[in-house]
């Protein structure tokens, strides 16, 4: 990659990735680096395979070709045991939460701890309650079922579950989709704050220009079946590509830019 600065440590390395569903090629020869400790925003038009990329990295979708290295492990070829070890070091928050509907919020957060940590139930409860409080949910939410929560609360609960094992990488799929602007801004702040204090790397698929301006260190634009450009948001307006131009210089982008700069 051209902007490969040697002193940075790539926590996720994707090389030559190819994804194909029948005759439809979604990604072809896609390369991507995610640096340790950054917030990377993945943007792209509908159908450019943003979510497919996320699903492929976390192992929910098997690519046709290419290598994916996460935390130094090639997750496509590594033996099962090694893969499991890597899996405990990332957390994924799905778009609609994907919380286990028969478990309470606290039990949802405790579920990965039960599986991977040898802790007493009381200790897990304490830590689970801490995670729930970290994502800004009231303690009352602990004993609620996912169906009793609002959409925004479900997203926060999903983040709490993603953070359960103190992961190094957090994958977020459209974290602010479906939230009201106030809720979305609060969620952005939350991710920014958690990223700073917990030192996690955030890989975020998003459509939300406000989020891009507010918290993303770098943006990767998916177009033409690959990562078309990547870099800080300020550099995006210089990219000579019709979609990128429209996306980052359209009226919504200007509004978000004003807000982002005003807020900073």
């Amino acid at each position: 990659m051209k902007d490969d600065t040697p002193q940075r440590d790539a926590i996720i390395k994707v090389r030559g990735l190819r994804n194909q569903f029948g005759p439809q090629v979604v990604h072809d020869n896609l390369d991507l680096n995610v640096w340790r400790g950054e917030v990377l925003g993945i943007v792209g038009g509908s159908g450019t395979g943003k979510s497919v990329l996320l699903r492929t990295i976390v192992g929910l979708n098997k690519p046709a070709a290419g290598t994916i290295e996460v935390l130094g492990t090639n997750v496509l070829t590594a033996p099962e045991e090694e893969r499991r070890k890597v899996e405990t070091r990332w957390g994924v928050a799905f778009q609609d939460g994907a919380l286990f509907s028969s478990l309470t919020v606290l039990q949802n957060v405790m579920a990965p701890m039960r599986e991977h940590l040898k802790l007493s139930t009381n200790l897990m409860k304490e830590l689970g309650a801490l995670k729930i409080s970290l994502v800004g949910l009231p303690q009352l939410a602990c004993d609620k079922l996912p169906s009793e929560l609002s959409g925004g609360m479900r997203k926060r609960a999903a983040l709490a579950r993603a953070l359960a094992l103190d992961p190094q990488i957090v994958f977020l799929d459209e974290p602010t989709a479906g939230l009201d602007p106030v809720g979305a801004a609060a969620y952005d702040d939350l991710i920014g704050e958690l990223q700073r204090s917990l030192g996690i790397t955030v890989f975020m698929v998003t459509h939300d220009l406000d989020s891009l301006y507010a918290i993303c260190d770098r943006i990767a634009v998916l177009a033409e079946k690959r990562v078309l450009v990547e870099g800080p948001i300020e550099t995006m307006t210089d990219v000579d590509h019709p979609w990128v131009q429209e996306y980052f210089t359209g009226p919504r982008a200007r509004a978000a830019q004003v807000k982002g700069i005003g807020g900073a």
Partner: protein, 376 residues
Amino acid sequence: MTVLGAPDLRVEPQDGRAVVHVSGALLTAYLADIEAAFAQAAPAEKHVQIDLTDVPAFDTGGAWLVSQLRRRLQQGGAEVQIAGAVDHLALLETVTTATPEVTPQDLPEHGRLEWVANIGRNLVFGWQDALSLVSFLGQTLVGLADIIVRPHKVRWASLVTHMQDVGFNAVPIIALMGFLIGVVLGFQGASQLQQFGAEVFVVELIGISVLRELGILLTAIIVAGRSGSAFTASVGSMKVQQEIDAMQTLGLDPVRVLVVPRVLALLIMLPLLGFVANLFGLFGGALMSWVSLDVNPGMFVTRLHDNIAVKHLLVGMVKAPFFALVIGVVACWQAFQVQGSSTSVGKRTTSSVVQGIFLVIALDALFSIFFAQLGV
């Protein structure tokens, strides 16, 4: 990642104050090993320094432990200082602010009082459910009556689809079931009646029990399991997806759109399926009588014709529409009770089948008493 040493903790007095030396990786994974040491650390000095210089790795679990220790010491009146944790300080403060004051409690114990309360709760809920089911039955009947008064309102596409699902596609299983019932009755009847030399009465045994009771009852039970569950699952998922809410906002009555075609399809098809079961039941019985008792088919038919009045068939068939109504209304009512998540769909589907089958059998018992009183 290099394997970091498991954490350790020592308390040392130093110039009139206590220093709590923590070393090793203070990670959630090691929490179970070190928790006791943290809980026991109780320096008597008024000034305590928690030294995190030798802690290379620190996560929320570790931060929680340190923050709990600090809180406990401070509550004991000590002045606590954190040293050597420049990198970890932000995390420590975030965790300290976020740690809830009260830890989540276990659900209340199910004591004796709770048990009594449960009985009351279930009674009230059961009564409310019964009322709601009756009101749903009323709505469905009004919907059905409406269709009889204004036949152009029938949703033909939907009705025919459900008739195929409920009726036509069920013919093989119903036929097989009927045949096997006939065979079983023929075989059991044969072995008992032979003792009295009354083999030939097997025709009455099979004829009456299949036509009056078993044919239609077992058909209803299979349909309750097969179509009742399908109704609850499909309408229930529509409830979860808010499709039923959408219908209401569009001015469509969910009962007329979803429930009436399904119940109507059952009303039409269940008697027909019952008839199929009757036919195959008699066929199976005749076959078995021939094989094990030498009652040849000609004799079987003659005896059937002479000794089994048509009323037995009618007594059986007249129950079919009632069973159909019970199965359809219970299944759709359960579907409308679905709330929130897909787990609820599963629970309601189970209840739908159990209640449907139970009510069908209970209704059949009522019919038996009724017909016995009438003397038919």
